[in-house]
Amino acid sequence: MSDTSDNNAVHVEHLVKRYGDMLALDYFDLDVRRGEIFGLLGPNGSGKTTAINCILALLTYSEGSIRVFGEQLTPTSYELKRCIGIVPQNVAVFDELTVRENIDYFCSLYVQDRKRRAKLVDEAIDFVGLGEFRGFRPKKLSGGLLRRLNIACGIAHKPDLIFFDEPTVAVDPQSRNAILEGIQRLNAEGATVVYTSHYMEEVEQICDRVLIMDHGRHLALGTCEELKNMIELGERISVETLDLGEQGRSADRIVERIAALDVVIEAEYDGRELTVRCRRGEHNLLDILGILESENVTIGHLTSRPPTLNDVFLELTGTALRD
């Protein structure tokens, strides 16, 4: 094993997992550095959760190796498991227990000492802001509060490595912000975080590095800026025009002229707004405005937007609908 893999919180090499004939992980590689927030992105069915379950020693796999903090994690690696926390996608709490009882129980699976545990549980309750709900049963909590309870159950024992599997699904913006800030605080306190989500802006907001995967394969890895530089799209220019097809002008002909520019990937006009996707270039906007001026088109509103992680994601994984 290399020194690099020992320094990583998680090191996955050539991981292969099959469900019958279906290949869920196809020689998948992953390195999560200690102390970072690592984003794992992929469409539904891309293999994100399968990869996490293999890392957590829940699933068998056909080939490859997995090391957590430099050690192989097996179902009986109890000491290593003490360092790991998981916040599953589905809320996993007992309906019959109160908020405090739930957090205390899941913490007790990691921490036996009652005094220490009581302190950790109180800290976890404060951390997720459930202080006034500690005596409530889960059914009395709103969706956002329930998600926060789910997080508290996963982090109360202060793990060094935490897996968050889409923790903000069906959560209002206020709760989402609170959750994201909490994850950043955990990271600031020293925890390594593996974060999966479908919300690109969240990943962009909190993750140090992002891995995009699809069909069980590693597609791209890097910081958000590095990923944006990997794609063809340079900027997206939107021009609101009210008279593109009037005064004897042909809207189709103008759109064709713009699309013919070397820097333009695609140009579309919906009767009100002209949208142009451009490659990286220094004079894209000037070239497009030049054509519009030469055609005497009145410009209402104009925006130029750099590529987002969402653009990266769609370009790498395609726009076809997934299950």
């Binding site: 068998t60 179902p75 009986t76 003490r82 996993a92 019959e96 699976l109």
Partner: protein
């Protein structure tokens, strides 16, 4: 593990559905049984009959008639009727002067029959049309039928004795001076004796209550199934969370077994106390042994629950459904669902005893049956042994399935 036990206990006790099916439902069934069977017992009791006694001149000529009616409860010592008192009396006499008056009372349904003296000094019983219809074995109630039959037999016996005495007086009056002859006249010959075979008075309806224990013990498997299903990563997010924790699975499974046993034991114990002390169904006077039997039955049930809970490739709700189906199916052959089921249970006992042994509900039922009907404890401990063996087999099978550490699918 202590915290796991406490939490599993809290989740089991706070589950409203669990409490209903495993605590309230058996008590409701026992209450229904009690209501049904207490009526059944009442139909075999003797009811006092309202009877008109025709105290006309013919009656007055024979003083023994009044003595006889007084003997079966109808008249006070002074010859007056005792319509106000019905304690342990076969008849409540309504004294009338004429047969016509007696017929009128029968027509008004004030009395069910009339007794009058015939010219030859015999007693004659007339039954009202309505009472005769009610006492019809096909449609009537048993208690009226039985009471009328007893009254008719007593009158027939009186008439037979009267004829015998009259014949002796006519043919050999000196014989009446012999005390032995007089004693023989009053004697009532019988060709059978009542003996007690069991140490406790049998109760025909008790078996239905005992079969209820069989069903409850199997229904209580759901305690174990719910806890174990919540521990498995392939069945729930809760299971996933518990599986990735550093608490070994065997500790969680042991906690599940203990809690399941405790809940099942409590559920059956409450049912036993209710059946014994509220419904009044006996346990052969061996209640402490019945508690021991419940403890063993709860162990078998919990182990079976663990085994079903650990079955792979079945969802938690499918497992609960399986346990309910198993409980209902096995209870059928333990005789829970009425006389037909009880006959079926007896038939299987006779014709295919192995099937009977393999039915855990039947074995739990047998625990109480053994205590009630056998002098020796041997059959009881035999049943305890069978249930314990079941328990250990199920436990071993559950441990084998739960030893699995990783899953192919989640």
């Amino acid at each position: 593990m202590r915290n796991s036990i406490l939490v599993y206990l809290k989740t089991s006790v706070r589950s409203k559905a669990g409490l209903f099916w495993l605590l309230a439902f058996p008590l409701i069934l026992a209450t229904l049984f009690n209501a049904m069977f207490s009526h059944l017992n009442e139909t075999y009791q003797l009811d006092s009959l309202d009877v008109a006694v025709v105290n006309d001149d013919t009656w007055k000529q024979n003083p023994y008639l009044g003595t006889f009616i007084e003997g079966i409860g109808g008249l006070d010592a002074d010859g007056g009727d005792n319509a106000d008192s019905t304690d342990s009396k076969l008849i409540v006499a309504h004294t009338v002067a004429t047969m016509a008056e007696a017929e009128r009372l029968m027509g008004e349904h004030t009395v069910v029959a009339a007794v009058n003296a015939t010219a030859d000094g015999k007693l004659h019983l007339s039954v009202s049309g309505q009472a005769a219809a009610k006492a019809n074995p096909a449609t009537g109630t048993n208690s009226l039928q039985i009471s009328l039959t007893v009254l008719r037999n007593l009158i027939a016996r009186y008439n037979a004795t009267d004829s015998t005495v009259r014949r002796i007086v006519a043919t050999n009056p000196r014989a009446l001076g012999d005390p032995g002859t007089l004693a023989d006249l009053g004697a009532y010959g019988s060709y059978s004796d009542e003996i007690t075979l069991t140490h406790f008075r049998p109760d025909a309806t008790a078996r239905f209550f005992y079969a209820l224990f069989g069903m409850v013990s199997l229904m209580a498997m759901s305690f174990g199934i719910t806890i174990i299903a919540g521990m498995q990563a392939n069945l729930s997010a809760l299971g996933l969370r518990q599986t990735v924790s550093p608490t070994p699975k065997w500790k969680q499974a042991t906690a599940a077994l203990l809690v399941s046993w405790l809940c099942t034991f409590a559920s059956m114990l409450i049912l036993m106390l209710y059946i014994r002390y509220v419904c009044g169904v006996g346990m052969g006077g061996r209640e402490p042994m019945a508690v021991l039997g419940i403890a063993v039955a709860a162990f078998m049930s919990s182990a079976l629950g663990l085994f079903i809970g650990a079955l792979p490739k079945l969802g938690a709700s499918a497992k609960t459904g399986l346990s309910v189906a198993l409980a209902c199916f096995c209870s059928l052959f333990a005789g829970l669902y009425g006389t037909f089921a009880m006959d079926l249970s007896d038939l299987i006992d006779r014709e295919a005893p192995v099937l009977s042994v393999l039915n855990p509900a039947k074995q739990v039922t047998n625990l109480f049956y053994d205590l009630m009907y056998f002098d020796s404890y041997r059959p009881f401990f035999q049943t305890v042994g069978i249930l314990a063996a079941f328990g250990f087999v199920f436990l071993a099978a559950a441990a084998f399935l739960l030893r699995r550490q990783r899953y192919d699918y989640l």
